[in-house]
Structure formats: C-alpha cells, structure tokens
Subunit: 223 residues, 2 copies
DNA sequence: ACAAAAGTGTTAAGAATACACCCATGT
DNA sequence: ACATGGGTGTATTCTTAACACTTTTGT
C-alpha cells in the first residue's frame, strides 16, 4: 500500500483567567492576520512538528502575552477542539489550555494585538469557535474551584475571606452566605491567618489570610 | 519570513470499557507492527489531514474493533497526550477517547491483533504510555459515574439493583452498603421497575429495573 | 451617632453512615 | 430446614442552609 501520511494542522489556544474588579475576566488579543482580522480571539498559535503542546503554548505566551507559562500557578489542558475550521484552507485541531493567574499585565510583542482582559459577561464578538472554548473553560474552572484549591492561583498571596468568597461568587455566578462560606472553607484547614489586617474603607479592617500551601490540592468536600 | 509549517503526527487512541464478570475491563489489541510489535496496546491509529478526531476514531473502531462508534452509548474525549513518542521517527500527539459499552464482542479485520478484554487489575505490559492513558480514563470514568448516569452504558437494558451496585463497586473499587445504595439511587427517580424478575440461583429472584432515559444525565448528588 | 463591612451563633432540615433485620427461593 | 442473596427499617452523626445578631472602623 502506497500511502503518505499527512497530518492535520495542529494549534494551541489558551484561556487565561484573571479576577479584576471582582469579575472573572479572560485575555483576548486582536487578530492582525486573516482570517478574522480585527476580531478578538484567544491567544494561540501553530504547534509545529517537534514541539510538545506545552512548548507550543510557551511560544504563544512569550510572543503574544509577554509572560512565560511558568508564571502561571495553574495550567491545565482542557480539550481538543476540531469543529471550527481555523484555517479556510483546511481542517485544524486546536489543543486548548486554561491558565490561572493574578496581577498579570499582558504585553504582546506586536502592540497592535493589544492584549486586553474582558469580563465574561461582556465579551466582544469572537473569532473561530472561541466563544465555545471560553464556555468550556469556564465550566472546567467551576468544577476545579469546587473540588480543589485552584482559587489560590487567582488571588494574591494574602487576601481576606471576603475576597475569597467574592472569587467563588464570580466564578460560580451566585451569591453565598458569608457565615456558612467561612465555616466551611476554614473547616478544610487550608488557610492560616496572618497577623495583618486590610483597611479598605470606613469600616472594620479584615484579617488577611494565606494558603498554607501554594499548590493545587483536593478539597475534602465540594463547594 | 520564509517558513513552512510542519504539523506533528496526530493519532487517536480509544479506551473501551466494559463490565465482564463484575470487573471493569478494557479492550487491548496485540500490535502487529513496530514499534512495540507483539505488545498489547489500546486500539488506535493515525489521524490524517481532513479527518476530524471522531472520524479517525470511527476508522479505528471499524478496522480494529469491528464496530462503529455509533454502537457506543457513551463516547467522551479525554485528553491529548504528547509525552509518549509514539513513533521513533518523531514527536506525536495522541487524542484519547473513552468509550462505554455492554456486550461487545470485538472482531478485528486483522485476526492476529486478537482484540481482548483485560481486567484493570490484571493488565499485561503495555505499549507506549498506554498504561498512563488507561489510568487517566479510569479516573474520568469514576467521576462520570459519580456525577452522571453514565453507568447505563455499561449495563444491559434491564438489570437488578445488585448489578447496578456491583457496577459502581467495580468502578470505584470499594464496597457499598446495599440499603444505603438503593435508597440513594432510587431517590434520583431515574429508574423504573419492570414487572420482570431475574432468577439467578437458590435464592429470592431480583426485580429487574431499567433507566427511564437511555441517555447521559446529571445526578442530583454525587456518588 | 451612623453607615458599612467584618465577624459569629443558633436552629432546623437534609444527607450520609452503620447496622440489624425480614423475605423468597432452590436444594 | 437451611443457605443464599433480595429487600427494608431505624437511629446516629455529619452537612447544609437560613437568618439574626454583635463588632470595629471612618466620617
């Protein structure tokens, strides 16, 4: 049998989440090339032969976001999307990653790409099937913060219990009872109170907490 | 910039689960080609340009398992593995799928591949990183049967509550209390009792149940 | 004194767990 | 009669959920 194997185009796209103004936001860049030129899209790029998907992701991060993958405390592969024909010339498969971070200031090597964070409830029109990818990523994030300590990646080292609760509320999209939230989360015994307080207005200052371990751990019970 | 894009090799591998003798078993085939010739491996194959991963999976299923993907009530994409260098000539990315079925008798178009079900606790030496893929698939299956009605795909249309419990026990790998299991599962209101009984030995016959809906549904509470 | 957010207590409903028991069948 | 697995009841403990209350700050 005479048959020359030809591989489909392989790309990598990253969904970078960050909490800004107590809202869950995602990083988008403005496409400078066709197709979808001028439309907002997830930072992504080609995965060339010889590169692992993580290496391709690193290339995307350094060139289009201005940061190494290593700067993200939580990076998780999501799904291989192959519905959206990325390239009009043919079928493409995109491996997607979810990246969580706090305090990232993006800087593309190409300034016209203007990397910008958008709130999930105020997304612009998106290129390719990127709206579906973001939806998938949001659902995955929801299950991850429910079953692991993944929120730590979205918060600064020190934070108040109200910050923590607001993070959960922004991700889950619903209000939680303050007292019940605190009792439950503290019962996991993952936080330690620091001796510092946050003074943020005309009211009682809040105690600052930090995670005992800055790493992904399973939660005893789901949130 | 003069640059010709070259895509990595893309493959598809399937983890086919079935319950046999109250044990969770996975389908393996014996490799007829190098590398790993003569070693057991997951059914898999190349994903050629122009084919979606599901089309590539269909090709694998019809040629190496003797069944269409459509015969599997539950098919779920798992993860893109790119650690194992499938081909010694270069880097390869494998998209993996988990497929659940009941009563499958496999038949490869190439009889020397002898597709065979192996119990998860008695796997042979495996090619590539397939041991890691099976472990990943097992964990995913565990969360799926805990949060959805995915078990239905592993059971015949009619089954006893003991069969159902044994399925959960085989997947979770631990014993469950009969009374508590029944109360909880029946409280989901997903099963209906048929008017038939299963007579399986020198003891009281067991009532046969069926799922109201033969489809994947979320469970009210996790198992 | 008051507004605003921090932080706590209490109770009732619901779920999980452990364990003991009765029932219907073939031999 | 008895062994075997089918099928059920109940009490205890742990979680969840709702809601009301007190505390500490700046103005």
């Amino acid at each position: 049998m005479e048959y020359v194997y030809h591989a489909p185009t392989l790309t990598v796209d990253s969904v970078i989440f960050q909490l800004i103004d107590n809202k869950l936001q995602v990083l988008l860049i403005n496409r400078t090339n066709e197709p979808f030129r001028g439309t907002w899209a997830l930072p992504g790029g080609y995965n060339a032969a010889g590169d692992t998907t993580l290496q391709a992701l690193e290339r995307v991060m350094t060139t289009k976001v201005g940061t190494s993958v290593k700067a993200f405390p939580v990076v998780e592969q999501l799904y291989a999307f192959d519905t959206g024909a990325r390239d009009p010339r043919g079928h493409a498969v995109s491996i997607t990653y979810m990246c969580l971070i706090n305090g990232l200031v993006p800087a593309s090597s190409d300034a016209t790409q203007q990397p910008t964070f958008f709130a999930l409830d105020a997304l612009p029109k998106l290129a390719f099937d990127h709206a579906a990818i973001i939806k998938f990523a949001h659902e995955r994030l929801d299950t991850r913060v429910a079953s692991t300590t993944a929120v730590y990646a979205l918060l600064p080292k020190r934070f108040t219990l109200t910050h923590l609760q607001q993070a959960y509320e922004a991700i889950h999209g619903r209000q939680l009872d303050k007292c019940n939230f605190r009792k439950k989360f503290l019962s996991f015994d993952l936080l330690v109170a620091t001796d510092e307080y946050a003074q943020e207005g005309a009211h009682r200052p809040a105690m600052l907490y930090r995670f005992k371990e800055q790493k992904l751990q399973p939660l005893l019970r789901d949130f």
